[in-house]
């Protein structure tokens, strides 16, 4: 009995070899779409599956595909493999160990929007992975699954990998496009959205690696099968990157709707040293810090429930667990320092706000703050909110405001008496 839909390498050894992948129903879905399905039908099937974007926003994938206008060509597809959110390491495992399923997903998406060129945009640190994927793309070309007139049809597709230069912001889709075009990685104004005006000004579909990896089995087994997992509004399975103060950190592929409690204590083996859990962050560094009380722990990890119950979006489902030993002021100084380091500098509030918050938290960690500096930190964070060009600036404030509000005592300990 196979346990995995996405992390199939855990069931099937050497699935990163094309012959093994093919022997395990690999490329059946792609062959089906290019040979027997209309692009619109592929999109419809994905729409019906209820698959939502796994990059963090949770936008319905099929609907996103439908945004590409049919009066502007060519279309491009980009796999966002810039996975840079602290605490997120799911795409990496997929690409390292189950590359063909990801690539097949990318090929299906490309066919659905009739793109003849697709890119895999990888964060700069993934250079080994890029070389590895290049080999796998080559295997697919040799086997006739990529290139001109694939499998005797009229459809042609080329996939290229592209390495970023090590900037977190390039995971933001418009900054990614700038970087892919060879420019400085800074987000563009939206609208227009990439679906209308994307790479080189052409309609462009950008999907996360995990999102794409879902596609082969959705096509092969159908939308209804996929909907048998997960919740009504968040169908399917999700890879939860679990990290922090847990006994068994790692990637867990589970149906959406699994609770924090189950993920952390049943799958993750509980808290290290049997410490008391203090808080959770659900979307890496870009998260609210949520007090891990019973209400929180009973929250099902699905897009709608996280938002409704604990007002903290599921995001990329990178669960960072924080126990009673963690100093929230230290945590905030770490996240703020990360955002200060990664702010692209294009818009004022993010560039200056992250820098300011970073200096304030640095003083706190050196125990040279005054009590009013805690309020100042919170005030600067609030002053950044709602004014930035892209989401990075907004994200930089989430941990700050929630941690100060919910764990003020941790900050008070750093105040000079």
């Amino acid at each position: 009995m196979e346990k995995y839909i996405l992390l199939r390498h855990r069931d099937v050894p050497e699935i990163d070899q094309l012959d093994v992948y093919k022997a395990n129903d690999g490329l059946v879905a792609f062959e089906k779409v290019v040979k027997s399905m209309q692009p619109a039908d592929v999109t419809l099937e994905v729409k019906n599956s209820g698959l939502r974007g796994r990059g963090g926003a949770g936008f319905p994938t099929g609907i996103k595909w439908g945004f590409l206008p049919n009066n502007s060509w060519p279309h491009y597809v980009v796999a966002n493999a810039d996975e840079s959110e602290p605490g997120t390491f799911k795409d990496r495992e997929i690409m390292e160990s189950n590359p063909f399923q990801f690539l097949e997903g990318l090929m299906i998406a490309s066919y659905a929007v009739q793109a003849n060129q697709a890119y895999v945009y990888l964060r700069g640190e993934f250079w080994q992975l890029a070389a590895f994927l290049d080999e796998k793309i080559k295997d697919l070309e040799v086997a006739g699954y990529l290139g001109e007139k694939i499998l005797g049809t009229d459809y042609s597709l080329k996939i290229n990998t592209h390495l970023g230069a090590g900037a977190y912001i390039c995971g933001e889709e418009t900054a990614l496009l700038e970087s892919l075009e060879g420019k400085l990685g800074q987000p563009r104004l939206r609208p227009p959205f990439p679906a209308a005006v994307g790479l080189y000004g052409k309609p462009t579909l950008i999907n996360n690696v995990e999102t794409l990896t879902n596609l082969p089995l959705i096509i092969q087994k159908g939308a209804d099968w996929y909907r048998s997992f997960g919740t009504e509004q968040s169908p399917g399975v999700k890879i939860f990157s679990l990290s922090g103060c847990v006994n068994k950190p790692g990637n867990y592929e589970l149906p959406l709707g699994v609770t924090y409690q189950e993920l952390i204590f049943e799958h993750g083996g509980g808290i290290v040293n049997d410490n008391k859990i203090k808080a959770v962050m659900s979307a890496g560094a870009s998260s609210d810090v949520v007090v891990a009380d019973d209400f929180c722990l009973q929250t099902p990890l699905a897009y709608e429930t996280c938002l409704d119950r604990i007002k903290a979006p599921l995001g990329s489902a990178s669960i960072i667990v924080l126990d009673e030993t963690v100093d929230m002021a230290w945590l905030v100084s770490k996240t703020v320092n990360f955002f200060k380091h990664e702010s692209c500098g294009k818009c004022t509030p993010c560039r200056e706000g992250t820098f300011w918050m970073d200096s304030l938290t640095k003083h706190m960690m050196a125990n040279e703050s005054r009590s009013e500096d805690i309020d100042l930190l919170r005030s600067v964070a609030l002053q950044v909110q709602g004014k930035c060009l892209c989401a990075l600036g907004e994200f930089s404030t989430m941990a700050v405001v929630t941690a100060v509000d919910r764990f003020r005592a941790d900050f008070e300990t750093h105040v000079r008496s």
């Binding site: 702010s343 500098g345 560039r351 709602g386």
Partner: protein, 831 residues
Amino acid sequence: MADMVTLKIDQQIVTVPAGTLIVNAARKAGINIPVFCYHPKMEPVGMCRMCLVEVGYPQRDRVTGELVKNEDGTTKISFAPKLETGCTTPVVEGMEVRTTTEKSNEGRKAILEFILTSHPLDCPICDKGGECALQDLTMLHGPGKSRFIYDDKKLFAKHVPLGEMILLDRERCIQCGLCVRFQHEVVDDPVLHFYQRGRSLEIRTYSEPGFDSIFSGNTTDICPVGALTTVDFHFAARPWEMERDPSICAHCAVGCNLIYNIRREAKSGGKTVIKRAMPRQNEFVNELWLCDKGRLGYHYVAAAERLTQPLLRKDEKLVPVSWEEAYQRVEDKLRAEQVRLVTLAGGRLTNEDLFNFHQLNQSQNGKAVLYSQMAGGDLTAQIGLGKGSNFSDMGKGTAILVVASDLHEEAPLWWLRVKQAAQRGAILIVANARPTRLDKFANHVLRYEYGQEAATINALLDGKGKDEFTQAAKAFSEAENGLVIYGSDGLGLNGSEQLVKACAKLLVERGYYGKPNNGLLAVWDKPNIQGAWDMGFHPDRNLKGTLREADVAMIAAADPAGDNPILAQALEETDFVIVFEMFMTETAKMADVVFPVQAQIEREGTYTSGERRVQRFDIVLPHIEGPKSDYQIAAQLGRLMGLSTEDRSPVLVMNKINEKVKGYQEITYSRLAERAEQWPLISRADSYYAGTGYENEYGVGIQISSSADRGEELSLGTLILVEPQEEVATGIKVVPVTALYDRGQLIQPSQILAKRLTPQVLLMHPVLSKKYQLQDGDQIKVKVAGNEIVSGVKLDADVPQDVALVARSNGFPISSPVFVQIQRLVPEPEA
């Protein structure tokens, strides 16, 4: 007419074209939304977030699509939860914008506080202090106190040279990107870039020489802080210490409007001096920009070697004399019987000077000669650019043909405006013997061999020949409006005459004249060549002979002897030479009488630009003791000869011009001072919107009508091409081209441009150099018309293979194509 939409901004009802950005709609209504990264001449980017305002949209029922009404019957407006950027959001019907609410004010204050956390606040020593957008907006909207710990400020390098002309202060930079975008989007010199990210973001240049752009100075105007300054103005003066005087740039035929900032200062010995030149808005001419030659090339004014006293030749030597004595000497000469007078006038004289010179010349039946190697001023007066033409209005439906001109070098602002017209959809055809910076924006690029200029235009008229010619001919003939811009690339007077006739014929046959945005435009090499033609001066194909045969030559604003040894020889044979000059030129040295004249900026006058816009300039600096205006001297000589020439004021001379000169009927000084409605609405008081350029309070000038505009009968003469004579000559054919930074008299004193001056070389193709066994960097001896000159050699694969190029006014006496003998100089072996 674009669809209009009506919206409400702060209780004001505003109606503007659909698509207008909120910030511009507000500005039209007199409501100022502060900005830093926005500029009305560039695409918005929404980076600085200074323009955040509350934006409400009329609410529609999701099901019916009907507007939702309030209880009182008004449309319900739903405001976005977040503030929106006014510089990126287009207005829509029924929108409501609130710019002064608590939320908007808080947003502004927040952004200013953020910017100031990393700003050095060194206003007391900053060149921008007093005209700084950040300073002004902080005073208006900023927090009085910073909550940022001062010691945490990041320190960066100051006075970083981006090349030798522009300095960058990294601490002051607020990363608005205006300079980078200006260089990329507006002037297509992408030599500035952002480097790094976050607070480490910095402006860098990667060109060699640094910041290699002829428009670089404009970035110092649009920089909203003191991050970019010209080396010229660095620590030179405070803005509030300087007065402003409007003027017109005298470096080319575009006639850019500018302001000179002047100050009386101790370090200049108590004299009033020019501290800098700034653009003055004229959306019909230079918009908000200046090229660096216009901005930085004013230092000649302070050159020490000015002539201050009339000089008279006595015992073979020029000695200072009184004005009376000098006048008397000239009067005596002119009163001699049957004197053959030639008046040779240069294109930097004003209309008033030229008119008076012409009156004097005519009274003696003299020959009025224009010192120029370009023909066609009679044709531009008849079928030139129609009254009401404006490059800004050109786009789709207009075909622009640029022939024999490297517009980027000859008239930078026209290059910019033609480029932008092409980007708006005008059909651009560029015909030249070599590649130029305009090719990139052209729909059709046509190549010919030097000498084939007129033939090329005739081929376009026939629509026959090579494929690209037929396509270009078709594109040109199918437009709604058409204009031809002709220059002097590789041409002498003969070639120019052939070319302009062909151009005129093409325009007439296609009907492109006598209406706005149609007609003929000459890229004259001096500011007032058109005015000189209009006042009755014409170039002379046999200037050498004319000078040689003259009994008396009056030479004003021209240095034939300095430019060309052949003309110097001719002048030696002229009996009596009268020179009107600022400097002791080679020609002045040969003169019998020298009259010292005032510089353009010391006097009033008018120029007629290439677009035939008459523009007035005022006295900028008090004139130095001694010299007079050319028009005055000419008038006083005229009076001695019994004429009623006007010597009191150029204003009064213009009143005579408008009586006598066709096309100038409507020109008076007061009409020239009329302002016009211009967009964008700029103001020094709120320089954050469009930079520190000046609003135009002094008048935009008047474009005069052409004969065709007035419906007069045209007398274009025969427009039939004369086959050029086969030249029988040996050696290398050298053709003259125009370089922006040449070694002209007016530009050399500007030391800041010294490194950018065009090298003194023969530019040739590697194939040609190989034939003569020359290498890049070699020195050669050039024999041209009996003279020997030493020159360098520079190789350039863009140059045609059979000719060498030489820049005019760059130390090589060449004004038309010529064959030369060359000999490689072997460097002396080092001891």
